[in-house]
């Protein structure tokens, strides 16, 4: 549920990028930051391990501006993808308004995608949230690797594996090149709008 402060007239929308380790969640945020930091004028906060993996989370806030008298602020988070950091993932999901599930298109990580989605389902359930009801966008990342001859999962297989029941908006992407990164982010923010509007009433 979006954080609305009627006194300070502030609205905060929390978006979490979820998915298997090394799937490109941080790369999504890095692309947004590197390309648009001159406009959003905020910093990407990242806590990484020595091996350059996300230890706690990445955090990229930005202001959308004053709308209908409210200062609208979007906060993008990633979770650590590695299985062992489940408590951190759960913590980051607290108060989430929308989720981008960043699936990895590489054939070798097919099972990891499914396990990670199952983990999202469980962690949301702990907050009494349903994966079927929360605004969700499926992003099938790393399509750029197809050109390098790496065995890939087709969007049809990914849809069947991950989105057959959820039927969430989905798109292929390349966080590395930026393909559909902004589109994904815009889509998830717009999907949270009905909830935000409901809270402002």
């Amino acid at each position: 549920m979006a954080f609305v402060n009627p006194k300070t007239r502030e609205v905060q929308i929390k978006i979490v990028y979820y998915g298997p380790g090394r799937g490109g969640k941080t790369t999504n945020l890095e692309y947004i930051y590197n390309k648009f930091n001159h406009r959003i004028k905020t910093d990407l906060v990242s806590l990484k391990t020595h091996g350059d993996r996300t230890l706690f989370f990445d955090f990229l806030p930005f202001d959308v501006g004053k709308i209908l008298g409210y200062d609208v602020r979007v906060q993008l988070y990633t979770v650590p993808g590695q299985v062992k950091y489940d408590s951190t993932r759960k913590l980051v999901l607290r108060g989430v308004d929308g989720v981008v599930f960043v699936a990895d298109c590489m054939a070798v990580v097919r099972r990891k995608n499914i396990l990670s989605l199952k983990n999202l389902y469980e962690n949301l359930s702990d907050y009494n949230k349903s994966i079927f009801k929360i605004p969700l966008v499926m992003q099938y990342n790393k399509i750029d690797l197809a050109e390098k001859g790496i065995p890939m999962l087709s969007p049809q297989i990914l849809e069947k594996d991950l989105n057959a029941q959820l039927k969430a908006p989905s798109m292929v992407a390349s966080a590395l090149t930026g393909l559909n990164v902004i589109k994904t982010m815009k889509k998830i923010i717009m999907l949270t709008m009905p909830t935000v509007q409901g809270q402002l009433k």
């Binding site: 947004i32 648009f36 930005f62 709308i67 209908l68 197809a146 049809q156 292929v172 393909l179 923010i189």
Partner: protein, 219 residues
């Protein structure tokens, strides 16, 4: 907050996000205090978008992806209206897009390769506005020749199918005929443009032979 405000909030957030994350070419523009070249920036943005669309189509041929590609190419055509060579290449891409849209996964195996090759040529031409006309023509000739080779590969196959089973074609004429008609129509359009351009160039060349001093002040 009433229903009107609901729409306003959503619309306003969408608008702000578009403004905030509009992909624009900031390199050079404004650095010397000059206004940015909006046409060039738009062209570059469209070209990048077309590239992304081609990648999407290469990944999976869907109606949505192909339609987006054709719409984007049509927009790019308007931006490049003054560049005849770019226009021919864009028209070739549109034709290929229409062909792939009709044939989908049954499109010729070389379709995407030809599309990528034509796009590479277009990208080269648009990325280097200072490229000499000869170099541009060379790129165009290579791409047109590849495109024509592709057409000869595609069309006899369809014609062969039609010749082999005339009875079937008659009964199920629809799946084959519209595609061929579309392809022929597009080919005719492109050939007209190429021939007209070649004629114009030849006329200019002949004129310059006849009047070597044409265009110079004679005092």
């Amino acid at each position: 907050m009433d229903a009107k405000d609901d729409q306003t909030l959503s619309a306003e957030v969408g608008k702000r996000l578009d403004m905030l994350f509009e992909d624009e070419d900031t390199s050079g523009a404004g650095a010397a205090g000059q206004p940015p070249d909006r046409t060039a920036a738009t062209g570059k943005r469209l070209l990048e978008a077309v590239k992304a669309d081609i990648l999407s189509v290469d990944w999976e041929i869907t109606d949505a992806a192909i339609t987006a590609l054709i719409e984007r190419l049509t927009a790019l055509k308007q931006v490049c209206a003054s560049d005849k060579i770019a226009l021919i290449l864009i028209q070739m891409l549109i034709s290929l897009g229409r062909y792939i849209k009709v044939r989908k996964s049954k499109a010729h195996v070389q379709s995407m390769n030809i599309m990528k090759s034509v796009f590479a040529g277009l990208e080269k031409i648009l990325a280097q506005p200072d490229l000499p006309q000869d170099a541009k023509m060379k790129i165009l000739r290579v791409q047109v020749s590849r495109f024509h080779d592709f057409q000869t590969q595609v069309m006899p196959a369809a014609a062969r199918r039609r010749a082999k089973a005339p009875a079937v074609v008659q009964r199920t004429a629809e799946p084959v005929s519209p595609e061929l008609q579309l392809l022929l129509q597009n080919l005719a359009e492109e050939l007209k443009v190429v021939i007209r351009d070649e004629f114009r160039r030849l006329k200019e060349e002949i004129r310059s032979w006849r009047n070597p001093h044409d265009g110079y002040a004679t005092g």
